[in-house]
């Protein structure tokens, strides 16, 4: 098993292969754009000047222009315009950082919660394991989407409500993964010998267990970032987590249905953007898993 420190080797192996390279390019483009656009949006909020938030976009994403409504894709409007004459490409680019933020926060918090529950469960075992795993099973028995919807009702389901909702239901897979990994290493000689020395439990968990089991979980997390984006966009599609007029990919696809059958570009381009991003994470995650463990999990 490779260590996280060998990232240079992993990167070299990734780039060598077309699938890994494609995944890496899509994911990097997605993350870099999110960082740039996200910072510009923060600057525009801080300076109270909305101009900054769309200086890199082809058009102002909020410019309503009835004369241009349902304009088909052309060079000036690469992805066409929607029913209110807003440029779809600009709205997609504006929406992307929000998806990146949701995915990273949800996966990161799931790794943290999953690590705590999974490591304790696997290391201590007994009744604690039984209770934790029953709760984990209960969460896992329902599709995450349905569970988020259920707890979103009272949240009134704004953007941060959805992030909270997704984080509440997303960790069980990680708890399972950590538990399985811990069961494998907990009786390894180095963990036993470390536990004989008088080191703190937290240090033992972190240095001798967490760091040794994290690799395959990070590979899974790469893939999972795409899953969060898929679920989040479906929630936005049905109207959870959206604050009009701020554009959101799933919500744009849903609004675009009203333009069918003529204005096909309206619902399709936001949907295709999600497809591209998720595919990038999936290609990248698969290859990382292959490099780390010599096989794909599924």
């Amino acid at each position: 098993m490779a260590s996280v420190k060998d990232y240079k080797t992993i990167l070299k192996m990734l780039v060598k292969e077309p699938a890994g390279l494609t995944g890496l390019i899509i994911v990097s483009a997605f993350l870099i754009w999110s960082l740039i656009q996200g910072s510009l949006e923060l600057i525009s909020i801080y300076t109270k000047n909305p101009k900054y938030s769309y200086m890199l976009l082809p058009h102002n994403p909020f410019a309503i222009n009835p004369a241009l409504a349902l304009h088909p894709p052309t060079l000036a409007y690469l992805m066409g315009t929607n029913g209110e004459g807003e440029d779809i490409l600009s709205r997609i680019l504006y929406a992307i950082p929000r998806d990146a933020f949701v995915a990273i926060v949800v996966v990161f918090s799931s790794i943290v919660i999953g690590a705590v529950i999974g490591i304790l469960s696997g290391y201590i075992g007994g009744w604690l394991d039984e209770i934790f795993m029953r709760i984990t099973d209960a969460f896992l028995s329902l599709p995450a989407l349905i569970l988020v919807i259920a707890i979103s009702v009272p949240l009134k389901a704004n953007y941060f409500g959805v992030i909270l909702g997704l984080s509440i239901v997303w960790w069980p897979t990680y708890a399972r993964l950590f538990r399985g990994q811990v069961l494998e290493v907990k009786n390894a000689d180095y963990v036993l010998s470390a536990s004989i020395y008088n080191i703190s439990k937290i240090r033992l968990f972190y240095k001798y267990i967490f760091l040794n089991v994290i690799d395959p979980i990070l590979a899974y997390a790469t893939l999972d970032l795409g899953n969060v984006i898929l679920t989040y966009s479906t929630l936005a599609f049905i109207g959870i987590g959206v604050t009009p007029p701020i554009p959101e990919l799933g919500a744009m696809a849903s609004n675009g249905l009203s333009g069918l059958p003529e204005a096909w570009w309206w619902p399709l381009f936001p949907g295709l953007t999600i497809l591209l991003i998720v595919m990038g994470f999936s290609l990248l995650g698969d290859r990382i898993q292959e490099i780390l463990m010599g096989e794909v999990m599924y």
């Binding site: 919807i149 009134k156 249905l257 497809l275 999936s282």
Partner: protein, 344 residues
């Protein structure tokens, strides 16, 4: 070994029941932690934006919101065991009436979708595995990657646009042609009702309206089945028994699609429950697009109305059906592969 199987069965059933109860308790606790104040609910449930204190108390009492959490949970479970899910505050009818109307419609598309995705995935996985490293393998892997990464609503929109709007082969939305008079509702399932009444025009109309939602859900799920069945096929093709059959003189085709495929499909059984669950989730978006008034549509609608009771009941019914599907898959797995019973 027979006794072993019964113990395995009982253990799995108890497990499923415990999971359902735990899920109800967890849902109540979560909802209680993040619940809105009763005033908001009172406003919605009484249909009055400025309720008086007295009205507020009435709503609180009616829905048991003033009782401690554990009492609410116990009451809910007690009522659930008696088939009573409470009254829907928006529609002012028992929730069970609403669910018995919407859930069968959703099952009518999710069950065929699950079966279809398993069949499509098994076949394409087998074809990909037996052409490993060739063009067809790469093509099929490309297809599963794309369908897997697509949001279900994109797939459904593309089908609606292409098949219904451009080719005009199937109706774009609805459950049935509204001009037809429905047959008596004997089962809750529109298709079965029509069949029992021998109402062929209605039956065909329902069937035609079902095709696009079913195919969309099946396509959304088929990627994962292809992936697992391809991997499982590759392992089994290298197994001794497959080599032996080849040596015995069976044709490669017969070995691959007969002997190996049967053994390789065992892992797919555990996947069926997962697929069913994801069809249930996917149908929320699909029903929205095809305006198919089933559970998914009801969920979206309840969400807009902040219909707490409607949502929690639907969630619990979905949980029960997914967990039951899981249980059936476990039992089937136990029958197909007796080694599982021992590990159980």
């Amino acid at each position: 070994m027979k006794g072993g199987f019964i113990i395995f069965l009982i253990r799995r059933i108890i497990n499923a029941i415990v999971t359902i109860f735990l899920l109800i308790v967890l849902l109540f606790i979560l909802l209680h932690i993040i619940a809105p104040n009763p005033l908001t609910l009172a406003k919605i449930y009484s249909g009055n934006p400025h309720p008086t204190y007295a009205q507020l108390l009435v709503v609180e009492k009616e829905y048991g919101l003033n009782k401690p959490l554990y009492v609410q949970i116990i009451t809910y479970i007690w009522n659930l065991l008696h088939g009573n899910l409470g009254e829907d505050p928006i529609y002012k009818v028992p929730v069970i009436n609403l669910l018995s109307k919407y859930i069968p419609r959703t099952l009518e598309i999710t069950i065929p979708a699950t079966i279809l995705s398993v069949i499509m995935g098994l076949i394409s996985g087998a074809i990909a595995a037996s052409n490993r490293g060739k063009g067809l393998d790469y093509f099929l892997r490309g297809v599963y990657l794309v369908t897997w990464a697509s949001p279900t609503f994109l797939i459904a929109t593309v089908f609606q646009l292409a098949v219904a709007y451009y080719l005009k082969l199937l109706p774009p939305y609805g459950i049935v042609n509204p001009a037809l008079t429905p047959p008596p509702n004997t089962t809750g399932f529109p298709l079965l009702n029509a069949l029992l009444a021998g109402d062929w025009p209605y039956f065909i109309s329902v069937l035609r309206h079902m095709i696009l939602p079913v195919v969309s859900l099946a396509v959304a799920n088929f990627g994962i089945v292809t992936r697992i069945s391809r991997a499982s096929m590759l392992v089994n093709m290298n197994a001794d028994y497959a080599k032996l059959s080849l040596m015995k003189g069976l044709s490669r085709r017969k070995v691959v699609y007969g002997v190996v495929l049967r053994n390789a499909s065992i892992p797919i059984v555990t996947l069926i429950a997962l697929l069913f669950g994801s069809s249930m989730a996917g149908s929320v978006a699909v029903e929205d697009i095809f305006q198919y008034h089933g559970m998914g549509w009801f969920i979206t609608n309840s969400l807009l109305n902040l219909d707490y009771v409607g949502i929690i009941s639907t969630t619990i019914i979905v949980a029960i059906s997914v967990i039951t599907a899981n249980l059936i898959a476990d039992i089937m797995y136990g029958i197909l592969d007796p080694r599982v019973r021992v590990i159980g």
